[in-house]
């Protein structure tokens, strides 16, 4: 049971936060160099960053230490038009086959398209109940921070570390500092979790989180659904923080109850009792604290080439002359690449492509919000609009609710699950200088497949509004 607010906390005097507690529970030993040998309880893998790791295991004659704690899916390279085998791209087919062979050889569960559970790794972990509070999760993908929404310590790793985790279920890693970020009060209508994280990154910068884990809290975060918290945690890495998390609460427990890989029955109740114990409390210490007022957050749109370069939809794009000295060169580079006019509002910027999907915003609640907008009109002439569900389960739910039909009749393409145009390792790509309103997470140069393509990040509802109007539009004018 959780202590009532009036009674002294059983943890009084324990100043540890959630990260400290989870870290301590998973510490195998302290290494002589000051790093921790940390047990990674859950390892997620996909086709892009794992084949070389398995090859390294073979070269060294090593096995997988805990094959039952690694889960695989295919997401980055899979086409979203036809997923029939063999895949039309022979390189993609080779990667898919390598993943299948590796999972078979080492006894790892693979959620492929025939399983009914395939999808973006950061969408399926949560929906299957694999992602749980108080756990450590690693994956060869920087958006692994998504899983922090459950109160897990989850982070992206490179392929050599994938090898380490496969071989030892451990990593050598230094404990990060913890910055508590409170988002207070409440959000206005038409303002979403995506806007919250874009506002946080805008305020703290794209490297402000280096060396930190971000603990998100405050009334706005506590009032969010798990899916909204995932959107926030997902983009922690865009602010430089490898880890982002939210303390587990009733919302978390209710989300997990009954999911395939969650504990069942009495074991679930026992797990909940443990999960309550690991949450940060009023006496927890932090290395830094930041507060944002939710009432100040506007529907936010990026105008530049990193996720920190954003403005409220009705704000002007910054002028180099007004920038701080150390930011001026970056700002000029971004404006030159984007060909957007400084001093003009970002609203009204013409778009060629609209993309709804990704591990940031490809969940059912994202599609519902976008569909609310899509119901109000038709995709503007000349705009190519795609909706890509984050997983097969999301797609099934959307079909049950008739959302696919809502999108199709409004002129959107309805696709099969995958990472799609977030990173363009598959056939979904921008062409030439196309400008894309995107619900994804990165607006880097060339990110969406055309070296000169341009990306404006925003919430899925804002993407839908841009698709209908043919230009960046304040979604509050549509809803």
């Amino acid at each position: 049971m959780s202590p009532s607010p009036d009674s002294p906390s059983p943890r009084q005097g324990d100043a540890r936060n959630l990260l400290d507690r989870v870290w301590d529970l998973h510490t195998v030993r302290e290494l002589p160099n000051g790093q921790t040998q940390l047990l990674i309880g859950t390892h997620l893998i996909h086709e892009v960053t794992s084949p070389q790791a398995f090859q390294m295991l073979r070269e060294r004659g090593l096995g997988v230490r805990f094959p039952q704690r690694t889960f695989a899916t295919v997401d980055h390279i899979i086409p979203t038009d036809s997923q029939l085998r063999p895949l039309s791209d022979s390189l993609a087919e080779e990667m898919m086959r390598a993943l299948e062979a590796n999972c078979r050889e080492f006894g790892i569960t693979l959620f492929d398209p025939t399983s009914g559970h395939q999808g973006i790794v950061h969408v399926i972990g949560p929906e299957l109940g694999i992602t749980q509070p108080g756990t450590t999760i690693a994956c060869g993908d920087s958006h692994t921070s998504t899983h922090g929404a459950f109160g897990a310590i989850a982070f992206g790793i490179g392929t050599s570390q994938v090898r380490d985790v496969l071989a030892t279920q451990c990593m050598a890693i230094a404990r990060p500092a913890v910055r508590r970020i409170d988002v207070t009060n409440k959000l206005g209508g038409g303002v979403y979790a995506k806007d919250v994280i874009l506002a946080i990154i805008r305020q703290l910068g794209v490297k402000g989180g280096v060396g930190f884990a971000y603990e998100y809290g405050g009334a706005v975060i506590e009032g969010m659904t798990l899916e909204e918290r995932m959107t926030v945690c997902n983009m922690s890495i865009e602010g430089g923080a490898r880890v982002g998390y939210v303390n587990p609460d009733e919302t978390t427990f209710e989300y997990l109850r009954g999911r395939d890989h969650a504990p069942q029955g009495e074991a679930f109740d026992a797990a909940v009792a443990g999960w309550r114990e690991i949450a940060s409390g009023p006496g927890s210490r932090y290395d830094d604290r930041v507060e944002l007022d939710g009432r100040d957050i506007q529907p936010t749109v990026t105008w530049g080439i990193n996720p920190g370069q954003s403005v409220g939809v009705n704000e002007p794009i910054p002028r180099p002359a007004e920038a701080r000295d150390e930011e001026r060169a970056s700002l000029e580079e971004a404006l030159a690449f984007m060909e957007l006019a400084p001093g003009e509002p970002v609203a009204g910027t013409k778009v060629d492509v609209a993309f709804i999907g990704s591990c940031t915003n490809g969940r059912i609640s994202d599609l519902r919000e976008a569909a609310r907008v899509a119901r109000t009109g038709k995709v503007a002439p000349g705009v190519r609009a795609l909706v890509v569900p984050g997983s097969q389960a999301v797609a099934r739910q959307a079909l049950d609710e008739g959302l696919d039909e809502v999108f199709r009749s409004a002129g959107f393409e309805w696709r099969e699950p995958g990472c799609s145009m977030c990173l363009a390792m598959n056939p979904d790509k921008l062409v030439g200088r196309e400008l894309c309103a995107s619900s994804s997470n990165r607006n880097f140069k060339g990110r969406q497949g055309s070296p000169t393509g341009r990306t404006l990040l925003m919430s899925p509802a804002m993407v839908a509004a841009a698709a209908l109007k043919g230009s960046v539009t304040d979604v509050r004018e549509v809803l």
Binding site: L25, T27, V28, L31, P32, N33, G34, L39, T49, P51, Q52, R60, L62, R65, F66, R69, I77, D89, L91, A92, E94, A98, T135, G140, S142, G156, I157, G158, S160, Q161, R163, D164, A167, T168, Q169, A172, I173, A174, V206, K207, V210, I237, E238, G240, R242, P263, A271, I305, N306, S330, E333, L423, M425, R442, F444, K445, G446, R447, G449, P451
Partner: protein, 198 residues
């Protein structure tokens, strides 16, 4: 177990790549991640940036040819966790990175490959960049033992996390062997955690 080398010094010429927040999509575009080995990635490092610069890119500047130390700005290697990024730079001949700051996953990936990422304060970094641009033929010496970088601009103190430094100096940067040494303590830790041991 693969042989792991102790790394005390990196000597070589420098290549100056100016700009902040250079992300891993720029270092190695995603289309080159469609592969099951890291072979051949070296030739594609910064491919799109180089093409757009039409030859006017530091990696194509013949004064910097053969450089072994890449000198960069702030937040280098931000974005994706793809180890393909340091793999491509290492295959292109770079063995160490000196910059204002590095993204955490990129720096971790470099360490796991035995390549140090060290940082300098803004004034020292600016002086180093200027010195190497004026005199690209000079030999730089990065001394991890002494935590210094020596160029014709002088010898300056560099920073890197102490844990990383000792991994490089002691030759334990390939962590698998060290982690395996924990033996049964791994299973003992797992046994305390119901979600792992169940």
């Amino acid at each position: 177990m693969s042989p792991v080398a102790k790394l005390q010094r990196v000597e070589g010429r420098g290549c100056v790549l100016r700009g902040d927040d250079i992300d891993t999509d720029r270092i190695i575009p995603a289309r080159y991640l469609r592969c099951v080995t890291f072979d051949g990635l070296g030739e594609h490092a910064f491919e799109d940036d180089r093409r757009q610069a039409k030859g006017d890119h530091p990696l194509d500047d013949e004064r910097f040819l053969g450089a072994g130390i890449l000198i960069v700005g702030e937040n280098f290697g931000c974005g994706s966790s793809r180890e393909h990024a340091p793999q491509s730079l290492l295959r292109a001949g770079y063995r160490a990175f000196v910059g204002g700051s590095f993204a955490e996953i990129f720096a971790g990936n470099c360490t796991a490959l035995g390549a140090p990422c060290v940082t300098l304060p803004p004034a020292e970094l600016a002086a180093l960049m200027e010195s190497v641009e004026l005199d690209p033929g000079q030999e730089l010496v990065l001394d991890l033992e002494a935590r210094t970088l020596t160029s014709r601009a002088g010898t300056v103190a560099v920073s890197l996390p102490e844990g990383t430094r000792s991994q490089l100096l002691e030759g334990t940067w390939d962590a698998t062997g060290v982690l395996l040494e924990a033996g049964d303590a791994i299973e003992a830790t797992a046994a305390r955690l119901p979600y792992v041991s169940a």
